[in-house]
Symmetry: none
Amino acid sequence: MSETARPAIVLVRPQLGENIGKAARAMLNFGLTEMRLVAQRDVWPNPSAGPAAAGADIVLDQAKVFDTTAQAVADCQHVYATTVRKRGVTKPVVGADGAAQLIHAEPGRHAILFGPERSGLETEDVALARHILSVPINPEFGSLNLAQAVILVAYEWSRLGRESVTSALVQPTAQEETLPPAAQDELDGLIGHLERLLEPRGYFLPQTRAAATRRTLRSVLTKPGWTHLEVRTLRGILSTLERDRHPKD
Amino acid sequence: MSETARPAIVLVRPQLGENIGKAARAMLNFGLTEMRLVAQRDVWPNPSAGPAAAGADIVLDQAKVFDTTAQAVADCQHVYATTVRKRGVTKPVVGADGAAQLIHAEPGRHAILFGPERSGLETEDVALARHILSVPINPEFGSLNLAQAVILVAYEWSRLGRESVTSALVQPTAQEETLPPAAQDELDGLIGHLERLLEPRGYFLPQTRAAATRRTLRSVLTKPGWTHLEVRTLRGILSTLERDRHPKD
């Protein structure tokens, strides 16, 4: 993946060092490393940021500090303003997934702006952006904090980056986990074994229902697509059940 | 959206009340309200949970407490075990997006298990699940905390719920094929029944292998996702096998 496809995460006037650290941690979980800080309230480096980053120090160490949002995104071709409230905006609105799609599709540098913890981005910050990034949340309870907003964006960026490689949403299990279903003759062996146990105990009576009962039995046992190993386990179970309960009687 | 399409979030042995509160906040942001707690370390209600929930009190107030994971998911047809490490698992692995697709596509109740903060889910918890839910993260820095894992799952559930209105990513199967899997307690009943038959016949010997053998048995029988009717058929088979071979001897 080219470096330009990795968006910069721009924290505009963040209040708490702890939240800067948490944002760094959220970023690095999904492979984002470029943090930019605009007019953070406290001194930088901030002693509260490191512990909250939980090991994502590389993100904090490389973070660049700017006086204004405009300076922070000066080298970026694509700027997104993250906001919950869409107050009379006239810019296209995308979700975290839509933004991730654009980042992977559009050449150039991308930057995503996140506002201060309580107040959010100012109108002048939003004005720098071509897109509004708004994660649709519960209208009755919108309470995303800074690191949560960052992690959703980082997650989507990572997810859609992988997806472009393999479009399968439900990943097949790893090689060693994808044993194929047992061959039909093995399954038949299992079903036959069970039928031999059931027959003398009257399971297939009355005779008029026997064919339907056998079909049901086969259908239930065919559904799982058990592997060779699983069928062997089940054969062992049936052999055990064949034994008398009290072998010494 | 039907209530069954809203997954229950099951926190297994959570350590800190603060993290339970943060998970509640993460859930409610995306409209999830059903939290279940299994053997939380501290007393419940936990005084640290409320402040961390940042207003998501309804989730905490309605949270149900269980002694065991099995009890917590007894009424659920679909159980997902969230884990970062995929150590020799033989269950299908889905991401948060894949799980969300299944939740919206498959009828029945869904429950997502999250392990304790540091250690994650135990093998016995994972054994209850049909799917592993694993969010692919930076292999060099995997540091998702509990609330972050919860918010990603809740976000995907919300995102794909909105999407399914416009475009069905997963085609639902035809009406007559969509009997949901039996609830977990029915499956437990089946497994328990079989174990009672096998135990006196020495199937679980040697004792040192008994736990692993029970896990294998559970895993083989969990795989199919049998319906209520299918489980009933299998219970009938086991009852038949309990009978003597020659009732008249």
